[in-house]
Symmetry: C2
Subunit: 348 residues, 2 copies
């Protein structure tokens, strides 16, 4: 608003002049790592800098040093609690490592993701974290792989979240094992006839979870009939529509519907209710992720807990770690049984 005349930010040069020392001394006092500078000079420089409101130009530092302090984060959908929680973890950890994070959104479009990776490469980030969705049949996969390999060869570090079988460091999420455990637990509660809300074909995370869930059922002697499943988007509305579809097709005697993530499960519960069915009572519902809000819906949602923020923290740590092997223990996963899947004697 203020219409004061516009100037340029103070440069190190200005500070040096103001303090009556050389550029080098100013640089050393302000940003030099091993301080070997007369305390008196140092003070003068610090004061001059304060007086001038000097802030080192990070771009210039990056050019001169040949290295940045940036971490690039790619997510599918920022507003989705799954990704925003991971992002919170990354940003928090970055902060304590004095790193800056830049963020972009892929919308689960792998062509777009590839573009973004290329673009972000321009920032010469120290680290690139890909929390976007992997897919099995990705046509852009090779190009992405090439791009990322080139990036790593120039000193960058890439970390994937959730996906496997990539030639890069990965924070593995136990999508499959978690879903299998969930299935086992549900069978234990007395459920026998299952349905599921699946994601778009080929999207890894979703396929893994469904596969794990199926595995668990099969191990117990049950199955997941195709006519009790529906494919939709990964979103709340996807879940809503998917459930509507199941209902429209005749949900029949399905006892429990597994939605491959909590947001979908929540949409699904609303769809049930809107159709006059009581989630948990008429049809049980289970999700995956354990996002914060699932404790506040009615009935509270049974799900598989994933420590999302910690996943973000780990991703950055893993990226910064010296050795590849340092993936550490797998991210702990835990089935959390809540009201949406009562013991079968109680309901359903």
């Amino acid at each position: 608003m203020s219409q004061t005349s516009r100037s340029t930010p103070a440069t190190l040069h200005d500070v040096a002049r103001e303090a009556g020392v050389s550029l080098a001394t100013a640089s050393r006092s302000l940003n030099g790592s091993t301080r070997k500078v007369n305390e008196a000079y140092r003070q003068k420089v610090l004061e001059a800098a304060a007086r001038l409101g000097y802030t080192p130009n990070l771009s210039a530092q990056a050019v001169a040093r040949g290295t940045t302090t940036t971490v690039a984060l790619l997510v599918a959908d920022i507003a989705d609690p799954y990704f925003s929680s991971i992002a919170a973890g990354v940003v928090g950890q970055a902060d304590s490592e004095r790193l800056i994070v830049t963020m972009a959104e892929t919308d689960r479009d792998s062509a777009r993701e590839l573009e973004l990776v290329r673009a972000m490469r321009g920032q010469r980030p120290r680290v690139m974290i890909l929390a976007s969705s992997r897919r099995a049949d990705d046509p852009a996969a090779d190009a992405l792989q090439a791009e990322l390999t080139a990036y790593e060869q120039t000193g960058g570090r890439v970390v994937f979240i959730s996906s496997t079988d990539q030639a890069f460091r990965t924070v593995e999420l136990e999508n499959r094992a978690g879903a299998r455990a969930l299935a086992t637990e549900m069978v234990g509660l007395g459920y026998r006839r299952f349905g599921a809300l699946m994601g778009p074909e080929g999207l890894r995370t979703g396929e893994d979870r469904i596969a794990g869930f199926t595995e668990g059922l099969v191990a117990a002697g049950f199955d997941l009939p195709a006519d009790r499943t529906a494919r939709t988007r990964f979103t709340r509305d996807g879940g809503y529509e998917g459930m509507r579809e199941l209902i429209a097709r005749g949900i029949g005697d399905t006892q429990l519907v597994f939605a491959l993530n909590d947001v979908m499960a929540m949409g699904a519960m609303s769809a049930l209710r809107d159709a006059g069915l009581e989630p948990g009572l008429d049809v049980a519902v289970a999700g995956f992720d354990d996002i914060p809000t699932v404790r506040d819906v009615t009935p509270t949602l049974t799900t598989v807990r994933l420590p999302l923020e910690e996943v973000g923290v780990r991703a950055l740590r893993l990226a910064l770690a010296e050795s590849d092997a340092d993936s550490g223990s797998p991210v702990p996963t835990e089935v959390v049984v809540r009201e949406s899947t009562p013991r079968l004697a109680d309901a359903v």
Copy 2:
């Protein structure tokens, strides 16, 4: 993972050599705005760049051009749907303006916010968007103001979200008017005895909403008695605890509790339920923001709708606009009545 020898990213110099042209020509072909370069040369350069996997070094460009393509975004809490929705808007808009966004989290701590602003200044961002919380009695306010003014004087543009009375561009949210309208509407539904979950003392957004709500009640001849209110944090758990406190103090014949945001309202509803009370039936609840999940809780939550993503979009647009006056129309706000506040005859 790959143990290939590590090299450096291709530079413009490399591209020029590979293409057999001068640095200048390469620069002009690749990034020059007004392209006045022989098409044949241009092709050669483009090919060379592709062959080398060249990506312009943004830091170097920034230093040379004296301007970046960065927008810095400060939020209080990334994982909170309110902020993540705004962030999604900012990131989306930034993307279509070919800008990069860097993000940091203040935790609603104004000292921290000041630090972050200083730090972000080092990036020389074109724009700085502050969606963090303002407070009335902020001891760091002057310092922040000074820092931001200095930033604007060196060509930066700052935009606040939600707060007023700042000497900077602002995307005004009608916190007060929205809450007032909500109060009026609630009175219209037959409610007479109100309580509220307030935020930490001094936090602008919260105070404005409570003030507006009170205003609306008073205008209708009612009030918000202090003993029916509790102060807590802005979070879901804050809402839960606040409601617990109200209940512990004896919620008495309170008919409706206004929580100053949806996350708190959702926590509050859970607290009611955990205490054996039925939200909407025993005690009505209303929130503010209209975050996505409020449609999926039971009862669905009455609230004041704020187009959060659009707020983010507007913030960036406003920052980029030539003229100050271009704040455009105020962000539309709208009371959305849902099941958590049934017409009084129906319940309560």
